[in-house]
């Protein structure tokens, strides 16, 4: 496979991170980022960003919001 340029590599960043793409394409991407400092940082930090998001505790529904939801549902279910 011909050498990829930065644009081609970045267009495939998301798919690469998700483990998609053929072995040939993935190897070509890895070859590029082993030689291109800027793409390497973009790939590495995008991976880190996803890990941070995945590790962060998700936003919780405020208790008052939850209470109003159950109150409305109770009313609706009683009427049905």
């Amino acid at each position: 496979m011909a050498m990829l340029d930065c644009k081609e590599v970045l267009d495939n960043l998301s798919n690469y991170i998700d483990g998609e793409g053929s072995d040939v394409l993935r190897k070509a991407i890895e070859l590029h980022i082993s030689r291109c400092g800027r793409c390497r940082v973009v790939f590495d930090t995008t991976g880190k960003m996803l890990k941070i998001v995945t590790d962060a505790e998700p936003f919780e529904v405020p208790l008052a919001v939850s209470a109003r939801l159950y109150a409305r549902l109770e009313k609706v279910l009683a009427e049905e």
Partner: protein, 254 residues
């Protein structure tokens, strides 16, 4: 898409190849599947259809967090998200017999949630115009090229990292925020996110790429490594040495 991005200019890149490591490959959302117990969802749906209303309460408890987060992602404010969340569960209850089990219950329910939220957004004339979409797409370029700290929680603590993530998600344009939240926060597969948002798979993947790059940019200012003092001195000394060399060469007429 990335016309102005090139590796020719590497002046601001930390080029320490020893720091390169294989990226953490995103695993398909098995975590979510285990946590949700789709089989349990189906049992609960059966019980609701047969008239057991407590089973519906169980379904609400299992899914209220996700439904609220998704509607918040679409609408961008808590008040509207709360209303959309309530309407989602009311609609789900009334139409539960129409759930055909071709997809997971979670996907079916989230699609209702997204539709409710989109309708509210439209009603408030808070729609995203095509111009805004085009503008948002043009802006998505990776500008920052500094490495990040290895462990941000050591720098900021769990709570602050969580707030940084929420703030970064809020800063995304709506079309990217909803895609990012479905795929990377709630763990839906790209195919499921496409089904929920009524988009094609290539469109979802394109938005996801841009959303991830925007999230990276949004978090970068807080997470980039600051060059150490000694590194700065070396860089400054190197620049001064080059300037002196140039001046000397100019002085001797070369």
């Amino acid at each position: 898409m990335f016309e102005s991005f090139s590796c020719n200019d590497q002046s601001d890149v930390q080029d320490d190849r020893r720091t390169f490591r294989r990226l953490p490959i995103m695993v398909e959302p098995s975590k979510m599947t285990e946590r949700d117990g789709p089989e349990d969802d189906l049992l609960l749906v059966d019980r609701v259809i047969s008239g057991d209303r407590r089973a519906f309460e169980s379904l609400v408890r299992r899914h209220e967090q996700r439904v609220f987060r998704v509607t918040l992602a679409v609408l961008g404010n808590s008040e509207d998200a709360e209303e959309a969340t309530q309407d989602t569960f009311v609609k789900a209850f009334r139409h539960i017999k129409q759930f055909r089990r071709e997809s997971r219950f979670t996907t079916w329910l989230t699609r209702i949630a997204v539709n409710e939220a989109l309708q509210k957004r439209q009603a408030r004339k808070n729609t995203v115009s095509l111009d805004e979409v085009a503008e948002a797409e043009m802006k998505v370029l990776p500008h920052r090229s500094q490495q990040w700290h290895e462990d941000p929680e050591k720098l900021y603590g769990k709570q602050e990292v969580r707030m940084m993530v929420e703030e970064a998600i809020r800063s995304l344009p709506p079309i990217y925020r909803e895609t990012f939240v479905l795929r990377d926060v709630e763990g839906f597969r790209a195919e499921e996110a496409a089904e929920i948002l009524g988009l094609t798979l290539p469109a979802i993947k394109s938005r996801l790429l841009r959303a991830r790059l925007l999230m990276r940019e949004a978090l970068a200012s807080r997470l980039e490594e600051t060059p150490t003092f000694s590194k700065r001195i070396l860089v400054t000394a190197g620049k001064m040495r080059d300037m002196i060399a140039i001046k000397l060469m100019q002085a001797v007429g070369q």
